[in-house]
Subunit: 303 residues, 2 copies
């Protein structure tokens, strides 16, 4: 019997004493020379060589941060640029994190009608061809409604999987629809209320919520509405969310939330710049700094 | 100078005198034996062999319907089950349709913050490694707001690409959020109004809309709100939309809308059954029948 998603997240937070979620958003122009084939210019690389470099980079990041990462969240878009080769690298990075016991959230933001959602769930949350599931959870978009969420739970939960549903995202335009007032409440609070009703029982369930660190005033309210949901909090660091903002998503035990950073953790030298020789230790230092900031904010948070 | 998305769709509708969009949702259990390696059971196939069978099946469907298809819409979920091999087959089916001059709508329903959306757009709507773009348009989810749509236009439009944004989808749960009343109108009408404002000018632009055939009462209103948007209308056939419902999405010239069918066109013998020997002619007959039904509905529609 595999652990549930909620159990795996709790265990990872305890193992690492950390709420850091490591976002993998690899960009070719910022990759360290060490992960590229010797003597090749970026322009001369084939799609396959680029994808292999992504895989190597992701593996190094996972190795550098394995004892700090409560979760790893690879963003499929950046891999998908290299098409099938990129998707192969994506899956290998996911598998490498899982081999090290780190829960993997595949950031694929899917959402489609029932039969199609079932196919996505089978691709990412079910064992395939004798191999274990690629991910412990996937991110899902709620715009199409409940019948597009259920298949992920039906397929994923028996294998210890779950979903993180977009509730209130970290980007400025999240206000366009997520904040529209419906019956006196912003739409995203209705989404939260519906998610709370999706899974019965006590304690954390398999339905998580994505809640951006860039809206601290909303985090507290959503923490209240979503008592059984782990929160995935993007927007820390590069997008402007502070550790204190993020700590509002944690429960009394300092659980219930993982805080994602991508660029600031994996390209601390700047995503538009070539990596300096000491890049591996810079990644590790960035991870430790973020973990410690979040620990301090957790211990200092209002309760 | 490449044609715009709107010009390509208009040209395809005129070439075929058809508004049929061929949805490719391949399912292993319904694949004809002819596209499988001889003497192999389904269970014994590797992921790579399954993906090759998907590619062969898609190519045969495209060949059978090339003079009927105003567009081809491959659904990535079904290919993604076979991971990197599946994505390779997906891209090859897209390229085969484009080689035959049929506009391709990659049904990937993406939506993410700016830098991530740019990566998706580069993957699907831009030339890569010397090859032309994979698709003429992608489907996009609006829940995260305008700054998640703009990158697709910025990257795609210079290459003759565009987007189809989910406005009102064909599934029953589309009511959950898309129909919530905001300032006296359902949310999806606000999305439509915003899309109408996205691109200036007369005539059809690069911002299309997905509007389900299962809501005929809404189609007329959305046709009015979205004067410059081609509509992609799913839900015909298996989901219950009629040709008369779909015709409401067409403009005075019988343009402005393409009507998608997937299972009823590509598995007319039933998606859960083995294909009979005459499967190729059954697909062609299903295509002709749908084209002719839509022609009659177009000519009979109220104007």
């Amino acid at each position: 019997m595999s652990l549930t998603l909620a159990e795996k997240l709790a265990k990872a937070v305890e193992r690492t004493d950390s709420t850091v979620c490591v976002g993998l958003d690899p960009r070719l122009e910022a990759l360290p020379k060490d992960v590229l084939p010797a003597g090749c210019s970026l322009e001369s690389l084939t799609a396959s060589a680029k994808a292999r470099a992504f895989r190597r980079f992701g593996d190094v990041v996972i190795e550098a941060l394995w004892d700090i990462a409560a979760a790893v969240k690879p963003q499929v878009a950046f891999y998908e640029i290299h098409h099938a080769d990129g998707v192969a690298a994506y899956i290998e990075n996911c598998r490498e994190a899982r081999r090290r016991g780190i829960p993997v959230i595949a950031d694929i933001k899917r959402g489609d009608i029932g039969t199609t959602a079932t196919a996505y769930a089978e691709a990412w949350l079910a064992p395939i061809d004798g191999a274990p599931p690629v991910a412990d959870a996937v991110t899902v978009n709620p715009y199409m409604g409940r019948d597009t969420l259920d298949p992920f739970l039906k397929v994923g939960v028996p294998h210890g999987g779950g979903i993180f549903v977009l509730v209130k995202t970290s980007n400025p335009s999240s206000k366009d629809y997520q904040d529209r007032m419906v019956d006196g409440h912003p739409l995203h609070e209705h989404v939260a209320t519906d998610l709370a009703g999706l899974v019965p029982g006590d304690g954390y369930g398999p339905v998580g919520a994505v809640v951006g660190a860039t809206h601290p005033e909303g985090i507290k309210r959503l923490r209240h509405l979503l008592k059984r949901s782990w929160m995935l909090v993007p927007g820390y660091g590069a997008q402007g969310g502070t550790a204190a903002d993020c700590a509002l998503a944690m429960d009394d035990k300092g659980h219930g939330a993982i805080i994602n950073a991508s660029r600031s953790l994996t390209f601390p030298w700047g995503a538009d710049k070539a990596a300096p020789p000491e890049w591996k230790s810079m990644i590790r230092e960035a991870g430790i700094k973020m973990r410690d900031e979040l620990r301090r904010a957790r211990d200092a948070r209002p309760r």
